[in-house]
Symmetry: C2
């Protein structure tokens, strides 16, 4: 549903606001890699207030996959920090609804699912540092191949926090030549708020990824001869945690279908 082709090219959005408007009116439901270039992208997690402390603590204990950028007030679906008054019930292209750890729906808005005790969390997304990699002259294979970035469940355990149990870290993968891989580490270390430097380089099996050609989320990409895969901690990690820890209700963005804010990605460079 989200792949782009010659006949179905990526739409052009001049800003996060334009992308959110198209998501809100239903005209855009695709993934957001490479779109609204220059604006912060973020993972969405919505939980009942009763689960908010456990999730904030889970994030504090696992900052590489869960860098928290904004937390809302209970009952308020509007952002303050990443965008002024965006509505997270409508302004993302696609959502996932988990009930007791089961994925039950993947709608394009969640207006009727909102509750007065819901708290929104926005977490940094690696799409944010992709512009810095492109500006340095690198190419991103998933953008070249017009697909979503591949994401994998790993054997790396996130620390538990309250009812959020120990659960697997999720990673995104981008292949590079060795020289570009080194530059990508150098560049992304300056973006700790959007996952920072990679958590692994090289052999996928070393982090429990047995089938690199079959990602758990997103799409496969080509790894060419001589290239080495780099793995970054990924904001889908809370969704993997939900499968294990089974909160009564948790709503997220659909993988790759991010919240796009109004702030420049360069603001998140330290």
């Amino acid at each position: 549903m989200s792949n782009r082709t010659a006949n179905n090219p990526a739409p052009i959005f001049g800003s996060g606001r334009e992308l959110r408007a198209a998501a809100s009116d239903g005209s855009f439901t695709g993934h957001t890699s490479g779109l609204a270039t220059g604006f912060i992208q973020a993972n969405l997690v919505i939980l009942p207030r009763d689960w908010a402390y456990d999730f904030l603590l889970f994030s504090q204990r696992n900052p590489k996959p869960c860098p928290v950028l904004e937390v809302g007030e209970a009952g308020d679906p509007h952002t303050v920090t990443l965008a002024d008054g965006a509505d997270v019930r409508t302004d993302l292209p696609r959502y996932r609804i988990y009930e007791r750890g089961e994925l039950v729906d993947e709608p394009t808005e969640i207006v009727n699912r909102w509750r007065e005790d819901f708290v929104l969390f926005l977490l940094g997304c690696s799409f944010t540092f992709e512009r810095a990699l492109l500006d340095a002259g690198m190419t991103l294979r998933h953008q070249e191949e017009n697909v979503n970035v591949p994401m994998y469940r790993t054997s790396i355990a996130c620390r538990g926090a309250g009812r959020f149990q120990e659960s697997p870290m999720v990673v995104s993968m981008r292949p590079f030549t060795p020289a570009d891989a080194i530059r990508a580490v150098e560049i992304t270390r300056d973006y700790p708020a959007v996952h920072g430097s990679p958590i692994h380089v090289g052999d996928p099996a070393a982090i429990g990824v047995s089938r690199i050609e079959h990602p758990d989320w997103g799409d496969p990409v080509t790894i060419r001869a001589g290239e080495i895969p780099l793995f970054w901690a990924c904001g889908i990690t809370p969704q993997a945690a939900a499968l294990v820890s089974r909160p009564p209700i948790m709503i997220t963005h659909s993988p790759g279908h991010m919240f796009v804010g109004d702030r420049s990605d360069y603001e998140f460079r330290i």
Copy 2:
């Protein structure tokens, strides 16, 4: 009580563990700047579980003054991350107890004050990056003058979170030559977990500090002709927040009398 002199020199501690042992048996009650060189130092905040979410959210919204490094389980006074099993009831040289925003006591241990609903928080401390500044050939005036670092309440407002209301950011100050000030910015930007780069350079009045020679906490230091003051966000900020927001009970370290862990300060360099 804490100043060092020729007749009362700073003790030598080879590790965080040694310093904690001396704090625990009561033989050391002084401030910790420059001590146990190379080991992480941290601010302590203890609050009832009922206030823990508001404080964690306050920290998330004010990451420069409140970089959270560790959060305990309710009722457990032992650390896991910064040191293996340190007891925060005894292992710091001196504490402050605030009841409804009033400073009521400044004891050297809090064993009898501990409660089953208490949660410990450890926040990054700028003493951690001081080694990197010294290694770069700089001198730190408060260490030269054998006093605690000067700290000031500013006119910069921290964002509120729940019952933690908007309240003033606290800063520590170190004077440098202009060339060293630039290097100090370059070096400390790599330590975001321990306050990172400064929040202000130059005119103290611009951040509401009217009397640089009268710090609100710690000791005054000499600013020599041609030097420029650098101000870093400071982990005393939660104590300023307590004065405003008046939680029923909050226990902290005494300013400058830090928790010292087992991990290398260089681990907190990004």
